[in-house]
């Protein structure tokens, strides 16, 4: 039997030339120092690939149960979660391995950037790598849509409004993406196709090219300060280095395997302990009070959006992602020669620190931002008790109006509430009655950040709201514009401490 199989294999090989092609690839040497501790820097790319493999396997498993139809998708996820044995684990693993893949990709790219591995002759490898990142983000985005819950619906709405802002072609793109002008039954099918065929196809193609380029250009040696990359001499030097190289199938591969196994173990444990993500409530555009959140890789964009005035929203939504991708593409063309060692490239190190800090802060902002697309859902948070006690009846009504008119969606009181506008806990100390009325009636001039309420509020409502806002001041502080000892206008109570 064994003999027979061997013969068959030989027969095929003789015709297909598999081993003739693969053998040299498997035995390709890598620079000697990768055998040492520096070699641990090189494990992240292969870990991303391992996660990709898990994604493919779990994805196939999920696709056997998932029904990409708008009226059944949600139910089929519930079935996976609660009925199908291990279905929940499959979902969980698919989610966390996907997250792991993004993390590994980012670490991999950061390492390549910091160690200058993208420089000559590996510029193209980098560019294809950026495409791989884009595909992976695309997978994350489309995957979240397939969950078809409130979050998915929101993601889609934002995605569509992003696409819709593209000049000229916008409506056309939206129509193609959603399979109609609005989010509907065919939208899900479109995203299913994207998630399962189109993007994975692109991803695997780019991955093939990426790997080919890696083999073709060889793995860069760990950088040494003072070793300059010069396209004229690099090839020869590298060639020399490889002569003293070690086979990839050796220590380097063991490191890869070890690290991937570790990463996978961690992800499996997380998946088993934390469990699958969502689905949250089923999507229903008519329901108010939903507080949807995008997936974590997009939180920073969400944070940026929630912080920025709507006037530049289009810019952020459209131009910004293109700029970021473009900037990544151009990295190797800005500098493809010179020093590689991070210790000699302080600007690069600083850039990485700045970028990650910014992303971190924005992500935090995105987590915090209680920004909800449903503007006529007031925020149900109670008015802090100490802003209620000691108010006059008029001010109390003002507080109720404040809640009723959804001011809280954008304005926090004592840190609780929306954050598009400033926290108003002490606004009475800084704005006068007239300024308050102007601000509320006119909103942000030119129509923007704050809507104009002049036409939406009765004079009594305005009066009450302003009285409430004037009363919001730190203990003992006079209203803005009031003169010491002058009788305080209106019905503002003096805190008890002052009158006793």
């Amino acid at each position: 039997m064994y003999q027979l199989l061997r013969k068959l294999a030989h027969w095929i090989d003789a015709r297909a030339g598999v081993s003739a092609t693969l053998w040299p690839m498997m035995r390709h040497p890598v620079p000697r120092s990768i055998d040492g501790p520096m070699g641990w820097w090189y494990v992240f790319g292969s870990a991303s690939m391992t996660f990709l493999l898990i994604q493919i396997l779990t994805g196939i498993g999920l696709s056997m149960v998932y029904v990409p139809a708008a009226d059944q998708a949600y139910e089929s996820l519930l079935y996976l979660d609660y009925q199908q044995p291990w279905g929940w684990f499959l979902r969980s693993l698919h989610y966390y391995a996907g997250s792991g893949m993004v993390v590994m990709l980012l670490v991999h790219m950061t390492q390549v950037f910091l160690q200058g591995s993208y420089k000559y002759p590996r510029e193209l490898t980098w560019v294809v790598g950026v495409l791989l990142l884009a595909c992976t983000m695309g997978m994350f985005f489309t995957g979240q849509i397939l969950r078809w819950d409130t979050d998915a619906y929101w993601g889609l709405a934002v995605g569509a409004s992003m696409a819709g802002r593209v000049p000229v072609l916008g409506p056309e793109i939206v129509h193609t993406l959603l399979g109609g002008d609005i989010i509907g039954a065919s939208s899900l099918s479109r995203f299913f196709a994207l998630h399962v065929f189109i993007i994975p196809g692109a991803l695997l193609t780019f991955l093939g090219i990426h790997l080919w380029l890696v083999l073709r250009c060889g793995i860069s040696a760990p950088p040494k300060p003072g070793e300059i990359v010069d396209p004229k001499t690099y090839d020869a030097t590298y060639h020399e280095e490889l002569k003293r190289g070690v086979p990839f199938f050796g220590d380097a591969l063991l490191k890869d395997i070890f690290f991937s196994a570790l990463a996978v173990t961690i992800v499996v444990v997380i998946a088993a302990v934390v469990g699958p993500k969502g689905p949250t409530e089923p999507p229903d555009p008519t329901l108010a009070g939903a507080n949807p959140r995008p997936e974590w890789p997009f939180l920073w964009l969400f944070g940026l959006l929630s912080l920025s005035p709507p006037a530049i929203e289009t810019f952020i939504m459209l131009v910004f992602p293109v700029l970021v991708l473009g900037a990544l593409f151009f990295v190797p063309f800005v500098s493809n020669r010179g020093e590689r060692a991070p210790s000699r490239r302080p600007a690069a190190v600083l850039l990485v620190i700045v970028i990650y800090t910014t992303l971190g802060v924005l992500t935090y902002e995105g987590v915090q931002a209680p920004w909800s697309p449903v503007m006529d859902a007031w925020s149900g948070d109670p008015v802090p008790v100490n802003l209620v006690e000691g108010r006059t009846p008029l001010e109390l009504q003002g507080a109720a109006v404040f809640q009723f008119k959804n001011c809280r969606n954008c304005h926090a009181l004592e840190g609780i509430g929306g954050r598009r506008g400033p926290d108003l806990t002490t606004i009475g100390a800084s704005l006068t009655r007239d300024q308050l009325i102007t601000q509320i009636s006119n909103g942000t001039p030119g129509g923007g950040n704050m809507p104009a309420y002049g036409k939406q509020m009765s004079p009594a409502e305005m009066e009450a709201t302003v009285a409430f806002l004037i009363s919001l001041r730190p203990d003992g502080q006079l209203p803005a514009g009031a003169v010491e000892d002058a009788p305080v206008e209106g019905t503002t109570p003096q805190p008890v401490e002052l009158t006793e």
Partner: protein, 247 residues
């Protein structure tokens, strides 16, 4: 094989395995009173149904007095002209008919009775004037205005000052209640209710409590409350005569 079976057997024990009980509910399927109340009412009525800007709901006297249908109707239809929104979906709100019922029923049973310190006296509840006024039109005849002003003087002026302008004359300080903007935003029904139940969370006494009132103060009757509400309503309209009547 055995290991495999054991593994599958433990399937239930993984902390990550979703529990059907935690399954997220669509907004309109939530049936838990506490959740519904927290999501919809605490913004104005306070985290625990008191100490919010709107009249407290966590108030045994109020809950004992308000008829079930009225309670249900207020939540369903809101109080037009006041900040109290309509909640029923068919009135433009966000709650299903079922949910409105759950909230209305839950309000009456949710807060255990041990908070009743001030009204623990069952007699206070028993003798309380009805929540709804029996008078159909609250209109003050010129003669009655003086009578109402006198009543106001006795029952309210110590805290809200004689003409309702508010002040710190008494030991408890109530703010202005003659402010026309304030009166424009509060319904007569809410005024009546406040006079009956007071605002125990903010220190306003109920219809019978002697705080800030003369020695010989007698609990207010339903008719007297009608008069007081009519007086406040006349301030709302800005009737010059009535407005000055209290001076």
């Amino acid at each position: 094989m055995v290991a495999c079976a054991a593994f599958v057997g433990c399937n239930d024990d993984f902390p990550g395995k979703p529990n059907p009980a935690d399954r997220p509910l669509p907004q309109n399927e939530i049936t838990d009173f506490a959740t519904l109340f927290a999501q919809n009412c605490t913004g104005c009525h306070g985290a625990d149904g008191e100490l919010g800007p709107a009249p407290p709901l966590n108030d045994p006297l109020f809950l004992a007095l308000i008829p079930d249908e009225t309670l249900h109707a207020v939540i369903r239809d809101g109080r037009p002209g006041t900040p109290m929104p309509a909640f029923a979906a068919e009135r433009g709100g966000t709650l299903s008919t079922e949910q409105v019922k759950i909230i209305a029923a839950g309000l009456k049973s949710h807060w255990p009775a041990d908070k009743t310190e001030e009204v623990s006296d069952a007699a206070i509840v028993a003798d309380a004037p009805p929540y709804l006024s029996s008078a159909t039109i609250l209109q003050l005849t010129p003669g009655a205005t003086d009578q109402a002003s006198t009543l106001f003087e006795r029952a309210c002026a110590e805290c809200h000052s004689p003409n309702g302008a508010g002040g710190e004359t008494g030991y408890a300080s109530g703010g202005a209640i003659n402010d026309r903007a304030f009166l424009a935003l509060i319904s007569d029904q809410a005024l009546r209710r406040i006079i009956i139940t007071g605002r125990h969370d903010l220190g306003m006494p109920n219809y019978a409590a002697p705080d800030g009132r003369p020695e010989d103060f007698k609990p207010l009757t339903s008719a007297e409350i009608d008069e007081l509400v009519a007086l406040l309503a006349s301030w709302r309209r800005g009737d010059a005569a009535a407005g000055d009547a209290g001076k």
